[in-house]
Symmetry: C2
Subunit: 219 residues, 2 copies
DNA sequence: CAAAAAATTTAGACTTACCTAAAATAATAT
DNA sequence: ATATTATTTTAGGTAAGTCTAAATTTTTTG
């Protein structure tokens, strides 16, 4: 099977393809993985040799079908472990990412399928992300980031793009939780800040935050 | 913290000290870890630099107090994960060792203490081995291997020394399970084989097997 | 469209944890 | 007590994954 480093690259490339379209650049990967561009280049060559990605010098990469499925296996493991940590071990949603980053590399198909059953086949992880099934199928729910919404529209807060503990702790502090109905009251053109309101309060968020909140439309 | 390789050495040295007395030889470690003696020498120097072991060239090693506590932390994690796998995920006792070998290296004190609580603070793992507590305290239950028993005596089968799947599957096949009362009927001096009986059946085991079965005396 | 800037790759080096082969030391046997 | 054997260590090398610095290619810009 693949090394931890390889798995981390696959997972990252998968996520970046989703966010930035199908050709992912060396620097983008380096930024996400917190490594240097030269290290990324080395790894991309290795992944290309194993037919996990298509890589052409100076052109960026994208996953092959094999690469995509391999990435989804890692993502499946990561999200199932997050469910376990929150549902069974009573962790908060802002504490589980780093631990799941380790657990996702444990090798055993049987283990992950038994874990899936133990958790009663959850469909979403604690951050609202869909969990791929054993065959690598994922629901792609069409959610909007607040950045894409017009003034006056509302939606249900169903997921975050960034699941780092800093960001989630910020949301905790601001009393924003999955399931909340959020309405965009105003967008300030000067600094691109968003005025939003929930059932209980109003607040101002930066566009950076707005981008990381995923809402599902309500009519 | 320590690398996976370092943790594996600590765990192995701890186990070997128990079995073979306090000075553990390079070759013994190499045998257990399935590596070469020269690699062991390299690692022992590294562990000695970190004050985890006392090592003198050609003299073998033993753990320092720091080394012993570090080893016990790894062992604690290994055994708690084994409990989880058997009790919660319905694994058989012969399937969990290799998976626990991976899980034991996941770094998070909080995780392991929450897991401990989730499992209701088990005292023994599925192979009858005691689980160290968060402070590194272990029950050392005085059990006998069948090899140390006299003809005619009996005991309760409470643990195994070898938790490899091959050995545990052998026990399954021979219908020997933890909790069984086992009596030594006869010892054949020619080949050092043991004739034993349980409530339900009699069988002959080699001294190799006898050595790996731990019994608790009944009066 | 050429020059400057940005992105990417190459070259060479480092660390960890292994390995083989040879040398050194310890244990055993005659 | 010395010679043989077994064990352990040293020396030198490999692969994975990272790094820095320099070179190359692409993109941007005046």
């Amino acid at each position: 099977m693949y090394s931890q480093a390889e798995e981390n690259y696959l997972k990252t490339i998968y996520a970046l393809e989703k966010d930035f379209g199908n050709e992912v650049s060396t620097n983008l990967i380096a930024g996400k993985i917190k490594t240097k561009a030269s290290s990324v280049t080395d790894m991309l060559k290795k992944l290309a040799n194993k037919e996990l990605v298509i890589y052409k010098r100076y052109q960026g990469v994208y996953l092959t079908e094999l690469g995509r499925l391999s990435a989804l296996k890692v993502i499946r493991k990561h999200r199932l472990w997050e469910c376990f940590l929150v549902q069974k071990l009573q962790f908060n949603w802002d504490e589980v990412h780093d631990i799941a980053e380790q657990l996702e590399h444990v090798k055993s198909e049987l283990l992950i399928n038994k874990l899936d059953a133990f958790l009663r086949f959850p469909k979403l992880d604690p951050h609202g992300d869909p969990i791929p099934d054993a065959q690598g199928r994922v629901l792609l729910s069409k959610t909007l980031s607040i950045k894409d919404m017009k003034i006056g529209t509302a939606g249900i807060f169903v997921g975050v793009k960034d699941s780092s503990s800093v960001f989630l702790q910020y949301l905790n502090k601001k009393n924003l939780a999955l399931g909340d109905k959020i309405r965009v009251i105003d967008i300030e053109p000067f600094d691109d800040s968003y005025h939003i309101e929930t059932k209980t309060h109003r607040l101002v968020i930066t566009s950076n935050v707005a981008e990381n909140l995923c809402l599902k439309n309500v009519k």
